[in-house]
Structures are given as structure tokens and as C-alpha cells.
Amino acid sequence: MSQTKSHLILLFSAGVLLLVVLLLYLKTGYFNTTWEQIFQALTNPRDEVSSTVVWSFRLPRILMAFLAGAALSVAGMLMQNLFQNTLAGPDVLGITSGSSLLVALWMMTGITALGSITDLIFLGILGAMGMGAIMLLFALKLRSAVHLLLIGLMLSSFIGAIIAIIQASSATQDLQQYVFWNFGSLQRVTIQQIPWIAVITSLGVILSLFQVRVLNAMVLGEDIAKSLGVSIRKVRIMSILIAGILTGVITAFAGPIAFVGLAIPNVTKLLMKTQNHRVLLFSNILFGALFLGVCDFAIKLLESYVAIPLNALTALLGVPFVSWMILKNRHVTG
């Protein structure tokens, strides 16, 4: 079987599963709904409880899970390509914490400039890109993956400390809002916000599509990529810009979601067995969306027994995976 064919089969299966998760998700919850009611609510929403449940609670949350999974996975793919390191990702490199800092400042000090949604998006992206640039400066000096990860970890702690100070001196209500945001909370997103997030995520994906040529060449290292006509400076700027946009918008709305951006690009590469970034891009979108969709579905199913924050679940799944990755790569990295 040719590689293209197996790629298509895998992507098609992921697409079908995505649809299945979507439908099951819409059907499941405290409030019992029949398939007719779901269908009714989707095609012709009326002033009924079932329509409200679907449009106000279930649909925005699952769509946000899909968008967040896709965006963070693509951001992770770009970071792993740029840093030439399979252990790179928006969260381990401290990029997510950049968003957290600005969002925390905004939530807990009450300073606004452009009106709430625009502020949130803008600050999330700005914070992510700022940290991306700082990490890049370190990456230019440090060749060792371990050193780079340590710096990312320390910068995250550093920012955590600043956030702690802001927390300690903020009002209870603001603090509570921040704590829930920090759990990784898909349910706070409203259906009106979804188009914003979708458009910005699509922008990141479209920009990535134009980067496929250079992303592929970067796989051979900067020196060879340069000899193939790639402008390294441009790649760096574009990768950080795009990863910043994607990580920033998701983090602003859903809080810092750990490990997705690290784990999914690796799983994708292993499944697709290719370094063609056009294939990897679309695969990361589908697999990332599917992963976070399934995670959130599991959280929802367990809700009546135990409340699991999204971030806790991704960490529970992510930490063993990353540990395994490090063990597997211990001869290569460091």
C-alpha cells in the first residue's frame, strides 16, 4: 500500500471519529436529550431547553476542545521544527506561560484598553510571542535540548512567581476567575466567541500552509536548509509568530492547556511516518482536535463522580508520555 493511501485512510478515520465524538458529546449530559432534539436544535433552534443546552453549553465546549487541540498541536509542530527538538512544545518552552502572565494581569488588575474580547485575544497572543522570542534567543546560545528545557521550566516558574504576587494582592472574585481559567476551562467559552477563535486559528493554519516548503527543509538542520535557499531568519520569525497566534488565542480563552502541543506532534509523526509538513499539518489538526475532544468527553462522562480539570487530565496523560519520550531519546538529546 502506498504511503499516500495509508495517510488518506488515517486522516479519513480521524475525521469520522471526530464527527462521532461531536455527536456523542452533544447527546451526553445531565439533561437528557433525544437524537431528534439534538437534530432539531442544530438545524432549527427553538426556544426550548434542549436548544439552549446544545447551543449554550455543549456545542461551544466541544468546538472549543476541537479548536484548542488543533491549534496547540500545530503550534507544537512548528516549535519542534524550529528548535529541532522533539521535546519542544508551547508549554514546555514557556510560551503558554507568557500568555498566562498577561491574561492574569488583565483579569486581576482590571486594566482594559480595547474592550474585553479584543483585549484578551491581543494579550494572549502578545504574551505567547514575547516568550517565544525570548526562548529563541536562548536557543541560539544553547545547543543542548536539556538546557533549553530547563530554561523553559525556569522561566515558567519565574512567571508563576510574578502571577502569585498578582494573585496575592487581588480581590477574591478576580482570583476565583483566574483560578478557574488556570484549570484549563473549555466551558467558559460562549458560542459567540467561537467564530473569533476559529478565524484566528484558521489564520495560523493558512500561514503554516505557506511555510510547508521551508518547514520540510528545516528537518535537515539549519545549515543544510540554508544551502537549500531557506532564509533562517524568516523561518524563525514566522514560526514564532504563528505559534504565538495559535497558542495565544487558545490560552486566552481556555487557559494554559499542558502537553497537547508536545505529545500530539510526536504521535502524529509516528503514525504518519513522514516528515512532509503538509501531511503533518493536516494530521496534527485532526489528531489534536480528536485527542482534546475525547479528553473533554471523558471529563464530561466522569463529571458526576469526580470533577477533573482539563489541565489535570492532559497532565495525567502527558507526563508518562513525555517521560517515555525522554527515555527513548536519551542517547540522542542532551
Binding site: 505557506f210 510547508v212 516548503r213 528537518v219 535537515l220 544551502s227 535557499g229 531557506v230 509538513h277 503538509r278
Partner: protein, 233 residues
């Protein structure tokens, strides 16, 4: 024609210089010198990866600094000694990366590009490896497919940095033979840095010498290893 005149090379201060060096299409030239003499620095400078301290390098009459990265990539292909393979990267896809400077904005390879890549693999006698993963190749196979990638780049000049460093005697000889053939039949101007003095002599290669005093110069093929070694001290 690739020409260097009154060239001074180095990172911040001049570590070596050359009055006049010329690489013609069809030439296979060996760049020899001891470790740290400046061979790699010269290669880096000539392919535009390190700024020229002073002097000029011209490719087809045009100053090196005037070539855009992408157009320079259609003139000089580059192969280093340290390609260790990339996980999940198949040989054919790897060779296709040589087509990078010719791809459109979306970066998709056309049928013609795939043909060029297949042709390049065939030229180096490695078409049987095309479906293998680069990380699973032997050192000898990696150099062959690396050369195929350089050929797919379809440039008049190819630079190789110690391409035989990790090869056994058989593959060293095989690579030299192949490079000689390519220079003649495909009219490639090939510059390779090497410590394989015996092969350089056996293949009667013209030389660029990088002696310890840092004055690089072109030299006719040498007959004896002792004489060549004496020139490098």
C-alpha cells in the same frame, strides 16, 4: 565559473587568505589542509554562509553577496559529513528536498520534481534505497543518497565537507570514482575537502592547498604523498 580574488576569510579576523582561486564546471578539486587550517571556513565563505572579510567571490561573474539565498541555492549544493539521517524521513522524500529552491509557494513537489529525484538516485546507484528511512541507512548509503540530494538540486557547483570521513576504504574509493564521473559527464564543478591524501594522489586531483601559514593556493595534481604533506606544514 566560481572565482575568488584577494580573499580573506575568518569569523572576525582573517585566519587564511587566497590570492586567486578558480573552480570551473567539469573540475573536481580537492581542498586539503590540516585540522583547523581553515578548510571549512573557506567552504562556508564560498557558499555564502559566512561573510567575506575582504576581497571578492564571484559566481558566473556576479558577486556572491548579490545572490539571493534562493537563487544561490540553484548554483551551489552543499553536503556535510554529518548527516545522520532523520527519523520518519524516507530516502525519496529526502532527495526531493534538493528541489526546495524550485518549489512554488505551497511547497508541493510536481511530477517533474519527483522524476528529477528518482533520476538522481539512479545516477548514484541507490534507487533500491528510495523507500527506506534515512535513519536506517549505513554511512556509505547515507553519503550516496546525500549526493543524490545534491544532484537533485541541479546546481553547476557542489561542495562537500569531508564526505569520506566516516566511510571504509571501499566506499571512499567508490565515492571518489562517482564524483570524478559526475564532474566529467554532468559538467559539475565539485569542491571537496578531504584528508584522504592517498586517494587525492591516486585520482590525480587538482588541489587547493591550505597550509599552516594560511595562504591558500591552487596546485597541480601531486605524485607523492610525502611531497604533498610537506606543502601542508
Amino acid at each position: 565559473m566560481l572565482q575568488a580574488r584577494q580573499l580573506h576569510i575568518g569569523y572576525t579576523e582573517s585566519i587564511a587568505s587566497a590570492e586567486s582561486l578558480t573552480l570551473n564546471q567539469g573540475d573536481l578539486v580537492a581542498l586539503v589542509g590540516r585540522n583547523g587550517s581553515g578548510k571549512s571556513t573557506l567552504l562556508q565563505t564560498l557558499r555564502g554562509s559566512l561573510p567575506i572579510l575582504s576581497g571578492s567571490v564571484r559566481i558566473d561573474g556576479k558577486e556572491l553577496s548579490h545572490w539571493s539565498p534562493q537563487s544561490l541555492a540553484t548554483k551551489i549544493a552543499w553536503l556535510n559529513a554529518h548527516f545522520v539521517g532523520v527519523a520518519q524521513l524516507q530516502v525519496l522524500d529526502y532527495v526531493l528536498l534538493g528541489r526546495t529552491p524550485y518549489l512554488g509557494i505551497l511547497g508541493s513537489a510536481r511530477q517533474a520534481d519527483i522524476q528529477v529525484a528518482k533520476q538522481a538516485l539512479k545516477r548514484v546507484g541507490a534507487e533500491h534505497l528510495s523507500q527506506k528511512f534515512t535513519s536506517s541507512l549505513s554511512d556509505g548509503e547515507r553519503q550516496l543518497v546525500g549526493l543524490a540530494r545534491a544532484l537533485a538540486q541541479d546546481t553547476p557547483y557542489i561542495f562537500l565537507d569531508e564526505p569520506t570521513a566516516f566511510l571504509d576504504f571501499y566506499h571512499r574509493k567508490q565515492l571518489f570514482t562517482l564524483l570524478k564521473e559526475l564532474a566529467t559527464s554532468e559538467q559539475k564543478g565539485i569542491l571537496l575537502s578531504t584528508h584522504d591524501l592517498d586517494l587525492v594522489i591516486a585520482f590525480e586531483l587538482p588541489l587547493w592547498l591550505v597550509p599552516q601559514n594560511g595562504i591558500i593556493r591552487a596546485h597541480e595534481p601531486m605524485q607523492s604523498r610525502e611531497a604533498l604533506e610537506a606543502l601542508l606544514i
